[in-house]
Amino acid sequence: MMSRTFKTALAVLGATLLAATASAQDTIKIGVTQPLTGAFAASGTYVMQGAKIAEEQINKAGGVLGKKIQLIVEDNKSNPTEAVSTAEKLIVREKVPVMLGAWSSTLTLAVMPKLEEYKVPMLVETSSSGKITTSGNPYVFRISPTSEMEARAFTPLVKSLGIKKADFLATNNDFGLGASKEFSEMLKRENVQIGTMEVMDPKATDFSAQLAKIKASGSDTLFVTTAVEQITLILKQAKDQQVTARIITTGGSNSPDQLIQQAGDAANGSSHLVFFTPWFPEAVKNPDIARTFVALWNEKKHHVGGLTEGFRGWDGIYTIVEGIKAAGKAEPEAIQKALWGVKVKGINGDIAFIKQGPAGRESAQNVPSVYLVKIDSGKVIRQ
């Protein structure tokens, strides 16, 4: 009995290993680590769905280097230690030559030492912390903007929005704290007074105490940096407590459509920094690609609120595949070299990499477009 179970387990193990080696020959694997459960589950799922759409389109068009691509998706559970273990699994067990990940800055920063250890490049699609591209890791290729880029893009709006005093409410991690730091420094340079700077646990759901404090500070603007789940709750609870400050969310994981759907009235009057504007595709640099993506997304019946997040998956996979094509082979070091030279027409705009970080060990950073939109009477408008 005992030995039969053992034999079955061995057989299963063997079969899996065989299957793994067999499929390695006719496809090119791309590892994807995203938060599919936990605090960032919704956002990570959208990115994964966007990446899957890109996979399908690329394979329909014949794949790359005569082979089909195959995404191997691992759930990093919104947890940095799990993120490391997904990287380990993808690289050691699945032997992927390149990865896409890992959504939040904390997750990406956690994975980065593994990239160096195994010399595998990763395309970073969402993370915004400056540290990612300045710490001297040459295996990092980021297409999303840093908080500093976002703050810089926002500078001209400080005057036109008439911001005099601002509060901050950010999630207590690299993503939130980084954004609070860059935006508050930028605002100080613009002579804006800074009120209270509050933090919250990424898993928290009740912000009544923080909002009571923010209300008492009497600022005209509240900058919020976190994922869409928490933004929804903050908008609702701010309305309940009659916080009158204008709410501006940064980081691009704010999904205005989802906010309108789930926060209702409470979303009206809030502004959001986004990196893709599916409501007016003509505003982006490559409107045709944007329209194609929106059409495919809707065809799949994915959540309409996921478009502003899902496009990252598409842009990421297309950039990676361009890198594989330029490398001419699916090997980590060749792809890492080739990615430096790619020029991709993406949904956010044209993707190409500039050098950041210490000389000789530079990381790659794209200069993406940033848009500010506003929710007005349940509709997203340009601002």
């Binding site: 207590n172 929804t232 609702k236 309940d240 009659q242």
Partner: protein
């Protein structure tokens, strides 16, 4: 430099928030303390009944499109039924086993329930629509949402109903008798099996009610029960294991400590308040503030 008036407003708002939160905390605490007091079971799965209540609310309102006010009692009823089933299947055969054994079984139930929830509903947070007006109720300088007010009123009503059941009904009398002395109660003709099932079902129903009420206020996620369990423990320890008035007052004390702690100390340590409370209480007055009997060991 802030004026005196805004600071006062902030304090008032904190007090209001704490009062509202305290009602649901008390519900959670009463359910747990009932189960412990009568059955001597430390119910680690308590928070899962809370999450279950919230998910049933989501199922009825958002998936099946039922009326909000109808969905609430349905969710609670389902919680009662799940509780009764758990008692019959898991706990009945362990009657008389030591407290560690039942605790291990309840931990097993907790892990199983939580992950079945995760498989059924995925890890993505769900929100539940409410029929309440979206503009808040304004009381001078402070305000609160109609939804939270509703939660508070229903929670108080349920607490009142629980008191009535315990103090005014035959079932309640039998429960109190079992609590005081199980063997004598059995000799006097109390059906202990029935009392245990009823107690576990009632306690579970209260936890499910707390979840069904708070689900629409916040969001529904599979792991929401963990913190609820731990907070319920804090409340029960504070009030004394087995004491219903203790759990009621303990719920409000915990809510005040959290809200004021988050407002004036650090919002990050909000959830730590309960545990600090447990540790301090157990070191200073291990029986809790309101325990009727010495219950150590």
């Amino acid at each position: 430099m802030r004026g005196k008036i805004p600071n006062m407003d902030q304090l008032l708002q904190h007090i209001l928030n704490a009062l509202i939160l305290g009602g649901t905390y008390a519900l959670l605490g009463i359910g747990l303390t009932l189960i412990f007091g009568i059955m001597r079971v430390v119910n680690f799965a308590h928070g899962e009944l809370y999450a279950f209540g919230a998910y049933m609310m989501y199922l009825w309102v958002m998936v099946l499109g039922a009326n909000f006010y109808l969905a609430l009692p349905l969710a609670v009823l389902l919680g009662v039924m799940l509780g009764a089933a758990m008692e019959l299947v898991l706990l009945r055969r362990l009657r008389g086993a030591d407290i560690d054994t039942t605790m291990l079984v309840m931990i097993g139930a907790w892990i199983t329930l939580q992950n079945v929830e995760q498989m059924t509903w995925s890890g993505v947070a769900k929100s539940i629509n409410t029929p309440f007006p979206s503009s808040p109720l304004v009381l001078g300088s402070v305000s609160l949402s109609w939804n939270r007010l509703f939660v508070f009123v229903v929670a108080l009503a349920l607490i009142g109903a629980t008191y009535a059941v315990i103090n005014r009904t035959k079932l309640g009398k039998a429960m109190r008798a079992t609590f005081q002395d199980r063997d004598t109660a059995a000799l006097m003709g109390v059906d202990i099996n029935w009392i245990h099932t009823a107690t576990f079902a009632l306690g579970s129903g209260l936890a499910a009610a707390a979840g069904a009420l708070l689900g629409p206020v916040f969001v529904v996620v599979p792991t929401m029960g963990d913190l609820a369990s731990l907070k319920a423990f804090a409340i029960v320890i504070l009030g004394g294991l087995g004491s219903i008035p203790g759990a009621t007052i303990g719920g409000f004390i915990l809510a005040f400590m959290e809200e004021l702690g988050a407002g004036y100390v650090s919002s990050g340590y909000r959830d730590a308040m309960g545990f600090l409370l447990i540790i301090v209480i157990l070191l200073v007055k291990p029986t809790g503030l309101f325990a009727q009997k010495e219950r150590i060991g």
